[in-house]
């Protein structure tokens, strides 16, 4: 057998035929196709021991128990906790993306100190501690020299911060970020003489009237609200300017301009009183309220005040009186505060209906206990108005602190009129951020001391805003820290020790255990994901339904279109685009439709009738201008928006964070127009008006 060229070709041909008779080519094709589906950069679920660990979400929106699935200790996914009363097995889109945020490129991986040139230099925790102690030591005893902005109203970290500021003689300079809880607390206690804080007992109600408050989107305990209403035991009516989550789900939606929500609540109160309805429980100021409503909200005036027909308002009033257990949930559209008047009007309406401390009504939740004697009450801190302080600071009318602590908050992004207020905060000589992420505020601070992400730390939550009764949750870390972080409460206890200040507990864990003991809660059960609950209500003396200053507030409430500012501004908060504290997560970004966000920016929504009147068309690039600033956007026509209103989503326009949120759209906070309402003792911006111009 000669193995020449011809022989070789025959051998190859035979090989080809033989190969076709083996699995080799078919198996290789199949395996290569699978191989191409498994590139190394495609995330893989690791093999290992799968566990479900309870945790407690803290991302700046509603807080509730969740279950984190871990594989060999590494968190993989988040799900609702069916055993937690504020989750009932549900989860929101931001929390669903919370595990991903553990690995965000925006995580601050170690303590950072700002250099003269503006860049950051890494430093050790011991060096960072020395710097902070050196800054704080000379400020001891100087009243108001240290301020704190805290973005977590429910955590016991507040006690340690409050004790530190109290010891530094700066107790009055502690603020929470603007929120519905803070605004309601100010209105409830200052205007109505309410006790404790307020809860909404949805579970017991048979009719729920929501005015502006997007209770299924981002207002209050949104996930619990969804779950409770889905059981079908209560009818739900919504009055608001656009089809948001609540309008889409409610049994009936009554379109109302944003600034007319308070007028609607007071019109309903007026119709109740006109029909001879009187509250069963004793109240103060009923005669004065009645006189005012008769004068300002007569049947003739109601259509003009509300923009609705009298028949529509009467129908709503009749449904409220016919219901056995009605509940009115009135609040700001964004769920971020800024509308004390609608809160007042809603509370008055509930009081007239006899729904205070009633089954299925408002519940007066007793003041939470505190462990540290030197800490101030969380409810008192909630009444401090940060917006007012920062506005005064910007105008040079407030005492400027020497040092600012920022905990779990991003005020330079999320305060109304953010460009001006951000500049005012930036003027404070030394600023420290305890942020997990390089957000807008951290980037302006002199020292960044990264705190653990909520999945990496021990923390608690007492009665998040909107709960039906007092509740307490606690969670321990479910993940190993992904960065060189230190729990802020423990760090501050160390600082207090270094400064020679009295510390009543040795650690944050000790504080939380003591708090659980004070409540009579079982710490072990809390850490297993259940919540302590207590339906006890605070005894409520007769509420003050009338306050002469309210009349001034209502008169100042923007009453309609003007030539200069023809549009009402409706802020829409959807958790998929983050919160005031947390930017859009990558998973959230991928859920945005192209019409919501594209390379031209984010979309604001107008009714086609309004757009036509303003000479605008769909897809026009526009600029929204208020008296505080401007933001640019793309115009989307949406017939589910009431004429005369522009809907602007929040959560866009970040200038820092990571590639998934930075430079996406523009920030609505720049155009929110805050003003202090002396009658309410609170800053208001929900009636911001804007004009719109084609770019």
């Amino acid at each position: 057998m000669a193995f020449n060229r011809r022989g070789f070709l025959k051998f190859v041909a035979g090989g080809a035929v033989g190969t076709a008779l083996t699995p080799l080519p078919w198996k290789l094709i199949d395996d290569v196709s699978i191989w191409t589906q498994n590139w190394p950069w495609i995330p893989r679920i690791p093999d290992g021991n799968v566990e479900s660990k309870p945790s407690l979400v803290k991302l700046g929106a509603t807080e509730y128990g969740i279950l984190i699935t871990t594989v060999d200790g590494q968190p993989i996914t988040a799900a609702g906790n069916p055993n937690h009363p504020l989750s009932l097995g549900g989860i929101d889109p931001l929390t669903a993306a919370s595990v991903q945020l553990l690995h965000s490129p925006a995580r601050v991986s170690r303590p950072l100190h700002k250099e003269a040139g503006g860049g950051f230099r890494p430093l050790s925790w011991s060096k960072a501690t020395d710097i902070l102690v050196d800054k704080l030591a000379p400020l001891q005893g100087r009243q108001g020299s240290v301020a704190c902005i805290n973005g977590d109203e429910t955590s016991s970290a507040h006690e340690i911060i409050s004790a530190l500021l109290g010891e530094m003689h700066s107790a009055s300079a502690q603020y929470f970020m603007p929120s519905e809880a803070g605004t309601q607390q100010a209105v409830w206690q200052n205007l109505l003489g309410g006790q404790g804080s307020l809860g909404y007992d949805l579970e017991g109600a048979d009719l729920i009237l929501c005015i502006n408050a997007d209770i299924f989107g981002s207002w209050g305990t949104a996930i619990r609200n969804q779950k409770v209403i889905s059981q079908g035991q209560a009818a739900c009516l919504y009055a608001g300017p656009a089809r948001n989550s609540t309008a889409a789900i409610a049994d009936e939606w009554v379109p109302v301009l944003p600034e007319k929500g308070a007028h609607l609540a007071l019109s309903l109160a007026s119709l109740l009183l006109q029909s001879g309805w009187r509250p069963k429980e004793p109240v103060q100021g009923l005669a004065e309220l009645s006189d005012f409503l008769q004068r300002e909200y007569s049947s003739k005036a109601i259509p003009k005040k509300t923009g609705l027909s009298l028949a529509t308002v009467k129908s709503l009033a009749e449904r409220l009186t016919r219901a056995e257990r009605p509940l009115v949930m009135a609040g700001s559209l964004s769920g971020l505060g800024g509308d004390p008047i609608i809160l007042f009007a809603g509370l008055v309406l509930n009081a007239l209906l006899g729904r205070v401390n009633a089954n299925g009504g408002l519940r007066c939740i007793p003041t939470p206990p505190k462990v540290l004697g030197r800490a101030g009450s969380v409810l008192d801190t909630a009444k401090n108005d940060l917006c007012s302080f920062v506005s005064d600071l910007a105008r040079g009318k407030a005492h400027k602190p020497d040092l600012l602590l920022v905990y779990e908050a991003n005020p330079m992004y999320a305060l109304p009129n953010s460009e001006t207020t951000g500049a005012a905060l930036a003027s404070i000589p030394f600023k420290i951020s305890f942020s997990q992420f390089m957000d807008e505020t951290a980037a302006e601070c002199d020292l960044i001391l990264p705190a653990p992400y909520f999945l990496e730390r021990l923390d608690d939550s007492f009665t998040p805003f909107g709960s039906g009764s007092a509740n307490y949750s606690m969670a321990e870390p479910v993940a190993r820290p992904n960065a060189d972080v230190r729990p802020t409460p423990d760090f501050l206890l160390d600082i207090m020790g270094r400064l020679g200040l009295q510390t009543e507990v040795g650690s944050y864990e000790e504080l939380l255990t003591a708090k659980a003991n004070l409540l009579g809660a079982n710490t072990r059960q809390l850490l297993q994901g259940s919540a302590w609950q207590d339906g006890t209500t605070a005894r409520q003396p007769p509420l003050r339904l009338w306050n002469a200053s309210i009349e001034e507030c209502l008169n100042r409430l923007a009453s309609g279109a003007t030539h200069q500012m023809p549009l009402s501004l409706a802020v829409e908060s959807e958790l998929k685009t983050g919160t005031a504290r947390t930017a859009i997560p990558p998973f959230g970004l991928s859920t945005l439709r192209e019409e919501e966000l594209d390379h031209n920016g984010f979309a604001v929504r107008l009714n086609s009738q309004t757009a036509s009147e303003l000479g605008l068309q769909a897809e026009d690039m526009v600029e929204l201008i208020s008296s505080t600033g401007k933001c640019s956007a793309r115009l989307l026509l949406d017939e589910s928006v009431i004429p005369g209103t522009v809907v602007v989503p929040s959560g866009f326009g970040h200038t820092h964070w990571d590639e998934y949120s930075r430079g996406k759209g523009d920030s609505v906070f720049k155009i929110l127009d805050p003003r202090f309402e002396p009658g309410c003792g609170r800053t208001m911006w929900s009636d911001t008006r804007v004009k719109i111009a084609k770019i």
Binding site: A13, T19, W35
Partner: protein, 180 residues
């Protein structure tokens, strides 16, 4: 002339033979790598102790399958908290895993990739060995044979097998049944 013709077909036949040897014998050995379990385990000896299969391989409360038993299953009821049989495998297990509280990194014979949703409880009416290797009467565990290209084990069920069984049982073969 005839000789020349015979010599002419030989390279072709040799080529076929070489390809068959390569494709049926060498290729599978090259494509797959063998991975031994951390230590051996005898299913038969455990069944002789009157243990039911479900004692170790059970469904969780939510219906999901626990799959490979964890350390807890092995040390509960005082089974292997201490050395009882004294075999080398048990000594390895107790000393290297039980005492430090470390889970055994068992190598799984059949694991579906992340893009496949498979529910054991939906298939509970079928005998386990319809899909899994029958190890009931064995005293040791075979090595896991893993595809070097795909990373999948040799026993990983392929999509055509799933589809065939679904079709035979008049169950939907829609994409979303397995790919969520």
């Amino acid at each position: 002339m005839a000789k020349k013709k015979k010599g002419g077909i030989m390279p072709f036949l040799v080529g076929i033979a070489a390809a068959l040897i390569l494709g049926w014998w060498i290729f599978p050995h090259v494509l797959f790598s063998e991975h031994n379990q951390p230590f051996t385990f005898g299913h038969r000896s455990h069944l002789e102790q009157d243990l039911e299969c479900t004692y170790c391989h059970h469904y969780r409360e939510d219906g999901s399958f626990d799959g490979v038993p964890g350390l807890e299953s092995c040390v509960s009821a005082d089974c292997h908290a201490e050395i009882i049989a004294g075999t080398p495998a048990e000594k390895t297990f107790v000393n290297e895993y039980v005492k430090p509280g470390k889970e055994v990194p068992w190598k799984v014979y059949q694991k579906q990739p992340d893009n496949v949703y498979f529910s054991h409880i939906a298939h509970r009416e079928y005998d386990c060995v319809r899909c899994h290797p029958d190890l009931e009467q064995t005293d040791s565990l075979p090595a896991v044979s893993r595809n070097k290209l795909t990373g999948y084990s040799r026993w990983t069920m392929t999509m055509d097998e799933c589809e065939r069984c679904h079709a035979q049982n008049e169950t939907s073969n829609a994409c979303y049944v397995c790919h969520k």
